[in-house]
Symmetry: C2
Subunit: 340 residues, 2 copies
């Protein structure tokens, strides 16, 4: 089955390729007669335009490059779903690349591949991380297409869509305080992640309002994994046995903490309150069910795509586009692990 081109259609319809092109793109300046005749030939031959050729001539590919960070984490992979869905709605396709750790060495290759494929914009859906932050600005400064970042700290005039992780940390901590837990420890995420830092900050500002001093001994670092949550709780209790509650900065670590508590015969929520972060689907089925902070990662992805489109539109009309951070707000989901 040879490919049908615009020429074949033109020939069959007895018109020029230009006229066919006008029909395809629903331009107004075609007579109704010709239009319907061409349209019919198009369906007959099963013609569909070659987007590669169109892209070359238009100088626009209707494609975004998306750089994600694995798909093992619940947040990032939901973000990607949001991006896909919204892009699709708006008529853009996605070229997907995945970074599998915060290794700057891969970045150049990925970016230059996307650029040589003439993407209309790049969506950087890699969670903000200290190990990368410095590298990013230098590499992106050379880039000529619009870039929208997800979940990273603002450093210059980037266009960013971010979850308000600090708010999440506050919501979690305030909830525990309201429930009457006073000494609230925290199992943080990996300290080089921006999101982890922000969640910790939310906890920190809330706790410092309580007048409690020496917050540092209430902090233990995890790495998002359940096992780090388990170890984390052990360490935390070894250091500060009088702790009444723990804010685990994601649900997996909360799960690990639940396991540690069970081992140590500490009753959750009576002896120890626990709050997680993310609201993974399993969280409601943990034992006890987990109070957590729900983040709507899909709408975050969608938001990023919206920003990208406004950016592109502004740029096309040569208008000013104000780089900005747009925020999505997480919310508290109360379950049994924190009910006194």
């Amino acid at each position: 089955m040879q490919k049908v081109t615009i020429k074949d259609v033109a020939q069959a319809a007895g018109v020029s390729t230009q006229t066919v092109s006008r029909v395809i793109n629903s331009r107004p300046d075609v007579s109704p007669n010709t239009r319907s005749r061409v349209q019919q030939i198009i369906t007959e031959l099963g013609y569909s335009p070659n987007v590669i050729a169109r892209s070359l001539s238009r100088g626009r590919t209707n494609t975004f490059g998306v750089v994600g960070f694995g798909l093992s984490y619940f947040g990032p992979s939901n973000v990607l779903q949001g991006i896909e869905q919204k892009s699709n709605e708006l008529g853009f396709s996605l070229l997907l690349s995945l970074l599998d750790d915060f290794d700057a060495a891969q970045i150049d290759g990925i970016l230059s591949n996307l650029l040589s494929r003439q993407v209309d914009g790049i969506i950087w859906a890699v969670p903000g991380n200290d190990r990368l932050e410095g590298e990013l600005s230098s590499r992106f400064s050379q880039i000529s297409v619009p870039v929208v970042y997800l979940n990273k700290p603002k450093q210059g005039d980037e266009v960013i869509a971010a979850m308000d992780n600090r708010l999440g940390g506050r919501l979690a901590t305030e909830h525990l305080l309201e429930q009457g837990y006073n000494r609230i420890g925290i199992i943080t995420g990996p300290i080089d992640w921006w999101e982890a830092q922000e969640r910790e900050q939310g906890w920190r500002v809330t706790m410092s309002n309580t007048g409690l001093i020496n917050l540092e001994e209430l902090i233990v670092n995890g790495d998002w994994s359940a096992s780090s949550g388990e170890i984390g709780l052990h360490n935390l209790l070894a250091r500060s046995p009088e702790i009444e509650a723990v804010f685990a900065c994601n649900d997996q670590m909360a799960l690990g903490a639940l396991k540690a508590a069970r081992r140590l015969d500490i009753k959750v929520p009576v002896d120890l309150g626990i709050v997680g972060f993310d609201d993974i689907p399993e969280a409601a089925y943990f034992y006890p069910s987990l109070t957590t902070i729900r983040q709507n990662a899909r709408s975050l992805g969608a938001l990023a795509v919206d920003q990208m489109c406004s950016y592109i539109n502004a740029r096309e009309k040569d208008e000013e586009f104000e780089p900005d951070v747009k925020w999505i707000h997480p919310r508290l989901i109360v379950r049994n692990s924190s009910k006194r």
Copy 2:
């Protein structure tokens, strides 16, 4: 910053564009002198070839279209990671589309988009499902590029990479039998999923060897969700109270079953053995920790890409390519939920 084209390089180097093209593609017929001069100019100008233009002229895009099925499920999103990584290694980029339910209406749009973007092949990473199976063959029969399918039943001469789910079901069931559980119930996945059917078959063949009759009353249907697992166990026990173990066809449903058991004060694993499927990272932290079937979905994705490449190569050389199903084998991970 205007884009640098091959013309600019040619002019700057005082050669024809053809010679530059030869250098870019490391063709042998360029003198060492010219080659190094051109190479230098290329780095000086920061030139990088326009892949869109190249694709048009070569008639090859080095791009695969990947159709996935959401990213919420652990299996599919790991498969996608495997696909991404392997494609990347082999120099292919991915155009990603996600189907978000088994709705045939979306398929045409997705496929024609991918085709009009001239992908070199399509990787259909949508889990096999009865609601789609009929639709697929008719739509794909028209398609002129190689297609590789993941995790679907063989119907004609498709090229397929699949996890041996039936083997998984057998491993789970045999393990429970070995542990001395006899009446083993099953909470299946959604019955229209091929993978769910296969896992059930694995259970069924193993159970029928035990001489147990009336298997039907040991079966209850779930939908992969934890809540369906919870309800499932309730129903199963209501119907056959003498059940000794349950094979939940994924880890989420196993989690739900664990919750139900806890509610009913049934001790796992003593009174009831439970085995899941998938080995999600959380499974080791359930209470009790979950015995399950681990599937290496990443290598499944990689396998599919390998098949695609052989397919394409064969086709280019006009060789015969034998359509075939390649299998990946899951394995049993024993934890506490099934230890008598």
